[in-house]
Point group: C2
Chain length 154, copies 2
DNA sequence: CGCCAAAAGTGGCATATGCCACTAATTTAG
DNA sequence: CTAAATTAGTGGCATATGCCACTTTTGGCG
């Protein structure tokens, strides 16, 4: 398109994605509110739950998030006693994370709330559609995107 | 679930969406870095650019973001002289926003960087596919999701 | 063994977002 | 017209995320 109309928002894939994330995030956050957890925290607890005492770097990689950002995000959950860390036996640089009993209980509680939201969402868009969307999003997330001219010192 | 195992991450539509957003956000952020703008700021400037001196509430609604969050996000852009606000003539409660010449120039500069990233992305996933994904995301963002029993005291 | 490069986190700083309580300006009752 | 209800923002507080500079450990190597 040599010019012409703006589509309302923008054709920016990133902007569209963020907008949807804000919208959906609010919905899941509302659903989880009774548990006191944010949807991001729930996701983090869940990821740790399905992993085996993962190292911080492992979690960050799985969630495609910055290691330091993960560290910051972990703090309130540790402070509230849902998670605890301990050093890896073979490599003292590595810090592993696990759910405390309290964290496990909180996760169980949150899971019930989460599934209501999840089902509500899937009922609206259809389970098939939702699965396809997730697949598409995972594909996007795992794309190996790279800038062509990755900033030559020039 | 009739069968076991964790799907890798989670079936949570929200978690998947956020993960993709972090991933893609990083890509666009890297592309925009030379301009000094974050992809979120770029999106905000663009939204204001295609609107006609929009009121803050209007912008927040279009981007589906909290009004106060918008206010916070606007600050660094105003501080850096890219945007300016002014009261609506008929309703003094309303604060309208517009790009300054400097902001317009910065947006133009960023647009060039953005389109490289955008094209790179579309080359990877295909323009068709990208358009479909954006449509799906917009549909999700505009869903009228509501909790069934909004938390009965159980 | 001692030195250096790579790996894993931490802390500081800045932006992104949300919620809530509060203020100012308008609109709507009465 | 005046008081109650509503609307538009603001400011404070808390979490979400990233980047960068450092510190601590490791793992190689000569």
């Amino acid at each position: 398109m040599t010019e012409a109309g703006k589509p309302g928002f923008s054709d920016c894939n990133n902007a569209t994605l963020r907008r949807a994330a804000r919208s959906l995030g609010r919905f899941y956050d509302d659903a989880l509110a009774p548990s006191g957890l944010k949807s991001t925290q729930f996701g983090l607890l869940f990821q740790i739950h399905i992993s085996d005492e993962p190292a911080m770097g492992t979690i960050a990689e799985a969630l495609i998030m910055d290691l330091s950002a993960l560290g910051h995000t972990l703090k309130p959950l540790i402070r509230d006693g849902y998670l605890e860390t301990f050093p890896d036996k073979d490599d003292r640089r590595v810090k592993r994370v696990r759910l405390t009993p309290r964290g496990q209980a909180k996760l169980d509680e949150a899971l019930k709330l989460w599934s209501v939201a999840q089902q509500q969402f899937e009922k609206k868009v259809g389970a098939e559609q939702a699965a396809k969307l997730r697949a598409a999003l995972d594909a996007v997330a795992d794309l190996d995107l790279e800038m062509p001219t990755a900033a030559p010192s020039n």
